[in-house]
Structures are given as C-alpha cells and as structure tokens.
C-alpha cells in the first residue's frame, strides 16, 4: 500500500513498472532532434480523416497499439485506461476508446495530463484492484490551432514567446514486473497562478506551478536536484525553463540548471524548425517521455528521473474574459532497480 511522505507525496511500495511504451508523431516531430524516438510517423497530418479532431483520435489509437505491442499484451488484458487531450470534453480520448474497449477514466490537466495519468495509474495499481493500467495522452497541432487560436490558413503572426503544439501521442502500459523503469513516488500539483494573462506566454504561466511541485517534492522526500539524473518538465519552453531556474534560485536557493531538461525544448530544434519558444501540447511531454526518456531508463542510461508534467489550465475564452492563466504540475518519479 502506498504511504504518504511529507505533506503531499505518495511513496509507492509495490512500485509499478512500465511494461511497454510508445510515441507516435507527425512530420515536424520526425524532423526534430527526437525523430528516432517515434514508433510511427504520420507524414500526412490528417491521418486519413476529414477533421483534425478525428486525426488526433487516430494518433492515440496508434500510440496505444504500439504501446500494447511493446508491453506484449492486448487491450483485453488491460483493466483501466487513463488519458486525456486538449480537445473539448477530451473527445480525442473518448473517441479513441470507442474501439479499444478498455474501461476509461478520462482526465484533464491540459499539457500535464500524461503525468496525471501515470500518477493515477500507479496509485490504481498500488491499490491492488487493477493488474494492468494504460495511460495515453495526445495533441494535434491543427486541432489545437483551430480550438485555441486561428484557422490554420489564416495569415497571422505569433510573438516569439508562443510555443508550437506538438502533433504527437504517447502511451504507456503499467503493471507489475521485475524489470523496467518503476514509478516510485508521485505528487499532485496545486493550481498556481502568478498573474500571467497572455495566452502566448504559457511557459511563463506554467513555470511557477512546476517550481511549486518541485519544491514540495524535494521537501517531502528530502532530496536535492543533483539526486536526479534528469528533472524533466513538460512544456515550459525556453522562457518557462529560464523562469523555473530563476524561481528555484530565488525562492529555494537551488541551482537546478544542471539536472533540468524540458520536453518542449527536446522535441524541436526551435530555431531551425520555427517552433517559437519550444514545443507544447499534451502530446509533447507524453511523446518525449515515452519515446526517449522511458527507453533510456529501460536501457540503464538514466536511473532516476523526476517528471513534472506541466499544464496551463486556461480555456479558449478565459483570457478574453480577463482571467489570468492558472497552471498545474504533477510529478512522477521513475527509478530503475539494479
């Protein structure tokens, strides 16, 4: 049974393992530094569908198919699916699960959804009521542009602080195994808001949430940034990453720059690919984690990773109503046994 350590961290005693994982993406993602990390690439952004929303559903189904193969099991062998996306009412996830037939608990923490799914999945396994849990999260550049910004063919200009929503999905199958990366601790984020109102400054809006969860996790577990091979944030991008390091220095006197990496900066070559301040979107951290980090943990190249999935909890209309952007960051610690 999991036990609480400190004020908000759950330490898992059975430490669920990642049985298999997979990332899928689009052409821009393939052209980035992590092009090798994808199990399947969809060069055609519509994925054979008429509407972007259904294209994202297909991304999720592909990620799940590859993750199940990687774990060596079928959808019938999975007891619970946890997942989410950015499309209204999490419909990409709901529609993807029409065909998979796994009991679903849909989640939403914006771009922090994959971390939330892993944390909830680990706790579900720890409860003993489930033996295998799947987690999946996705985003699609075109679907996100349509919902949150402008129609795709509109000739607008984005400021340099804006980030590019990834066309990607990541999926992982969790269960009990003697080998593979394990989830040893999880922590849920608090809704944090330091008053950023500009929807083109999502990295800045999310950095305080990442710092809050990181600070609480380090306090609860009595660890230092140097204890981790990587502290991996979701999609803070260039500006959010800089601000996270500054907040850690100013409020905690900690230098995290040596251990910190950001999925949004790993996914794209921001300058060459015209990706603004870096990647974002639910699929960004899910794909980087499943395509690059979890395999590195499995291979032993990394041994201890703290994953902080960051999400900006705005709606398409809340910035127009003058609201600032609340953000959240959920933490999942991965370790590897000797």
């Amino acid at each position: 049974m999991a036990k609480r350590i400190g004020r908000g961290t759950a330490e898992l005693t059975c430490r669920p393992a990642i049985l298999g994982q997979a990332a899928v993406g689009g052409q821009t993602e393939k052209d980035g530094p992590l092009g090798h990390a994808f199990a399947e690439i969809f060069a055609e952004a519509r994925l054979g569908e008429k509407c972007w929303e259904m294209s994202e559903t297909r991304l999720q189904q592909a990620a799940m198919r590859h993750a199940l193969t990687s774990a060596g099991c079928t959808a019938q062998g999975v007891d619970l699916h946890l997942g989410g996306d950015l499309i209204n009412q999490c419909s990409a996830t709901d529609f993807a699960l029409r065909e998979l037939g796994i009991p679903l608990s849909g989640l939403f923490s914006a771009c922090g959804t994959f971390a939330q799914a892993l944390a909830m999945g680990a706790l579900a396994l720890e409860s003993g009521a489930f033996t295998r849990v799947s987690a999946c999260a996705s985003s699609h550049f075109c679907a996100a542009e349509k919902q949150f910004r402008f129609p795709l063919e509109f000739g607008g200009q984005a400021p340099p602080t804006a980030q590019r929503t990834a066309t990607a999905a990541g999926a992982a199958i969790l269960g009990q195994s003697a080998s593979g990366p394990r989830i040893s601790r999880v922590i849920f984020g608090k809704v944090t808001d330091l008053g950023v109102k500009n929807a083109n400054e999502m990295g800045a809006a999310m950095a305080p949430a990442a710092w809050d969860t990181l600070r609480r996790f380090l306090e609860d577990t009595d660890t230092k940034p140097g204890d981790f091979d990587v502290i991996l944030t979701g999609d803070l991008g260039e500006i959010g990453s800089l601000l996270l390091c500054e907040l850690a220095q100013a409020e905690g006197g900690l230098d995290i720059s040596g251990a910190h990496k950001d999925c949004g900066l790993l996914l794209y070559d921001t300058k060459a690919q015209d990706a603004g301040a870096g990647g974002s979107g639910v699929g960004c951290s899910a794909a980087v984690l499943c395509g690059e980090i979890l395999p590195a943990l499995r291979a032993g190249a990394l041994r201890r990773v703290l994953f902080l999935g960051t999400g900006a909890l705005l709606s398409a209309i809340s910035p127009l109503q003058g609201e600032s952007i609340p953000a959240i960051a959920h933490g999942v610690e991965f370790t590897v046994d000797n």
Partner: protein, 147 residues
C-alpha cells in the same frame, strides 16, 4: 521568499524576447507595398483593356480577392502572413484571407453551422466596427454640409 505577482511580471518581461520590430516593420512595409503595387498594376492593365474607371474600381478588388482565395487554399497566404504580419493583413487581401481561412477550417461542421456560422469569425469585428465608424463619419459629414 515567495515571489509576488508584480515581481514575477518583471521576471517574465525580462525573460521574454521582444518581437523583432525592425524586421517586422520592414517586411510589412515591403509586402504591403508589393500587394498595393499589384493592385495598381491590375488597375493599369484593366484600364488598358478598355474598361471604364468605375468598372476597374470593382474589378481590381475582385481580382485581389480571387488571388488571395487561391493562395489561401494552396496554403501559401498563411506563410506570407507569418512573415509579413500587417503587410499581408491590412490590404483587402488580408480581409479575403480572414474569410477564406475559417471557410476551409469549418467545412467539417457542415455548410450552415460550420462554414456559414464561422465565416465572419475573424472578419466580423472589422465589418461591425468598420460599419459603425463609417456611419458615424457619414452623420458628421452630413451635418457639416458635405456632399
């Protein structure tokens, strides 16, 4: 020490790069100028083809709108707009792009509630406030004795 909203605003401002204003202004000026020169070119051509002045004033915007619709559909105009900003947005071609882009985007939701309802999603504010300002201007003009 906990960072306050004001302190954080300053941190964000310092960390965020400015838009490249000089480059943006220059590109907007050049592209906007080229689009307007193109319009003037059409004007000259249609005049030479023997159309009346009043007809040319209608044909030229139609030609620019038609070309914009084609280049929007080909996925070219959004790239132009990304680099040229207001240079591509302010001329009549920008308005045409703002109508064609949602028409393409919302075709999935059907011709009535998709295309029809979203056609003026971007251009609507320009029409609404443009008409309002024109009305106010017309009233003032009338009372000042303009003809």
């Amino acid at each position: 020490m906990k960072t306050t909203n004001n302190q954080y605003e300053k941190m964000v401002h310092k960390a965020s790069p400015d838009s490249p204003h000089a480059k943006n202004f220059l590109l907007a000026f050049l592209v906007g100028g080229v689009i307007c020169a193109l319009g003037q070119g059409f004007h000259v051509i249609f005049e030479k083809l023997g159309f009346e002045e009043e007809q040319v004033k209608i044909i030229v915007p139609c030609a620019l709108i038609f070309l914009t619709a084609v280049f929007t559909a080909l996925g070219v105009y959004d790239k132009l707009g990304k680099h040229a900003g207001a240079g591509a947005g302010v001329p009549i071609t920008g308005f045409a792009n703002a109508i064609v882009a949602p028409a393409m985007e919302y075709h999935c939701e059907g011709l009535v509630l998709g295309v029809g309802a979203n056609l003026f999603r971007l251009a609507g504010p320009v029409l609404a406030y443009g008409s309002a300002v024109a009305t106010i201007y017309g009233v003032i003009f009338y009372f000042l004795g303009g003809k």
